[in-house]
Amino acid sequence: MNEQLRRRILSTTCIIGFFVAWELLCLAFHVSDIVLPRPSEILVTLWTRFPAIWPHALQTLYTTLVGFALGIVIGILLGMLIGSSRLAYDVAYPMLVGFSSIPKVAVVPIFVLWFGAGTVPAVLTAMIMCIFPIVVNVATGLAATEPELQDVMKTLRATKLEILWNVGLPRTMPYFFASLKVAATLAFVGTVISETVASNRGIGNLMMIASSSFDVPLVFAGLFILAALGVALYVVFSLIESRVTGWAVRSDNFAAGG
């Protein structure tokens, strides 16, 4: 426990140190706040203009979560399909790789064309951003299931669905959660891209407007909000992960709790 506490204190100090160094360097070299505002300025902006910022923050969070949820559902289904069928693997994999290589900025105008500017393209962009890592990881997890464990089920005359449910899916959980942590942050990227291009709400839109009026502290305030939301979502999924897939990590905490 002591060791853990020391590690925590050390890492917190380093993170705070980063911002202090930023503050001090800006002061020492007289950096204009139009180029790079100091963290203290950004915090003041966040505080004083919070009533104007938070509806945008909520909009971005809402859009991202909806897109993320859709991405999870579709990602799992596709991953299961690809992981358990040879044909699906051969067909869908090259298409997925090709599709994920397309810059998402290029896709947003198409969504806008189809659904109009606003929330829908942002949700869809967030969704397609996070599908790829989820699909790949779920498919990999299923493919990595030990044949011995499947044999256990086969000798019991289990159906394919029972094998998938009792062995395939639990085995895939560690891979799935690893992908969720990546996908959660990617979903924010997707939302903001879309908001920047075609929306009149959301942090992306706020930052566009702020930068066009050279309100750089507000731009950075937007970045801070995005970073904070991203970290929060990451933490949430890390916590769920350690609950659900503790068996794969074998930590002492899990042994006591499980």
Binding site: D151, T155, L156, N166, R250, G258
Partner: protein, 279 residues
């Protein structure tokens, strides 16, 4: 010693019936015969051990019966029906414990009750009551009382293997397939588990097919031993083990026992010699 009745003779059919079964792997050029044309009949309640050098097709036979491998030629009947369509309850223990790492020991042992009819029909209703007691009793039997809440990785290899045996037996299988389940254990744990295994067999009388390369184990546990030979795999000797049950480990030091294992050993050595001159 209270001698048990001789191997029960069941009127109708064999539990296992391999009819001129052949198993080959690979295509034309690189074809390897894992099992040459083999016929094997095992009647109800028999405890049969398959022994032989590695690569002789022991495990192949087991997999055929378990249904995880299909024969290239011939027919595999289990309880009178062709494999795959059968309704016989099979329990299997493997060389590795193969416990599911995300389930605790209790849920691991309970797995067959969740999958195998008729138990699965009442699984939701009884998992916390009757089935749980059943699992606890089974764990206590192999010396794992109180370990139900542990996870597989928290147990030693021997303990995991005990849990694996519990899982193989929890649904009262009529056919028990054992693929060298005691192979990776130390001498004393192994002998202890032999005794447990024998008692379970005397009590429930499942038909058992045991694959092993330990002749002492085969002679101690089985009522019939089939010796196999490699390349191509086939059965070259089939003999009955006459010792009365329950057998104790002391039996293994008696002259009859020693001469039986000696004879089996010679069979296998001879088979290996043939194999080497052939290749």
């Amino acid at each position: 010693m209270n001698a048990l009745p001789a191997e029960p003779v069941l009127p109708a059919g064999n539990v296992i019936d391999l009819e001129k079964v052949r198993v080959t792997f690979g295509s034309d050029k690189n074809q390897v015969t894992a099992l040459a044309e083999t016929s094997l009949r095992i009647t109800h309640g028999e405890f049969v051990a398959l022994v032989g050098p590695s690569g002789c097709g022991k495990s192949t036979i087991l997999k055929l019966v378990a249904g995880t491998l299909t024969a290239t030629q011939g027919h595999v009947f289990v309880a009178g029906r062709e494999v795959g369509a059968d309704h016989v309850r099979i329990g299997m223990a493997f060389q590795n414990p193969t416990l599911l790492p995300w389930l605790n020991i209790r849920d691991n042992v309970m797995l067959p009750l969740k999958i195998v009819p008729p138990f699965k029909l009442e699984f939701a209703a009884k998992r916390k009551t009757e089935y749980r007691d059943r699992v606890e009793a089974s764990l206590a039997r192999v010396g794992l009382a109180g370990f139900g809440d542990k996870f597989p990785w928290q147990l030693s290899g021997g303990m995991q293997q005990r849990a694996s045996l519990c899982r193989a037996l929890i649904h009262d299988p009529t056919l028990l397939l054992l693929d060298e389940p005691f192979g990776a254990l130390d001498q004393f744990t192994r002998e202890e588990l032999w005794e447990i295994m024998q008692n379970l067999w005397i009590e429930k009388r499942p038909t058992v097919l045991l694959v092993t390369h330990d002749l002492k184990e085969a002679a101690y546990l089985a009522s019939r031993i089939c010796v196999m030979q490699a390349r191509p795999g086939r059965i070259v000797d089939d003999s009955v083990v006459p010792f009365v049950r329950p057998r104790t480990i002391d039996v293994s030091f008696q002259p009859d026992f020693v001469s039986l294992t000696q004879r089996l050993r010679e069979r296998i050595v001879a088979a290996r010699a043939v194999q080497e001159t052939a290749s």
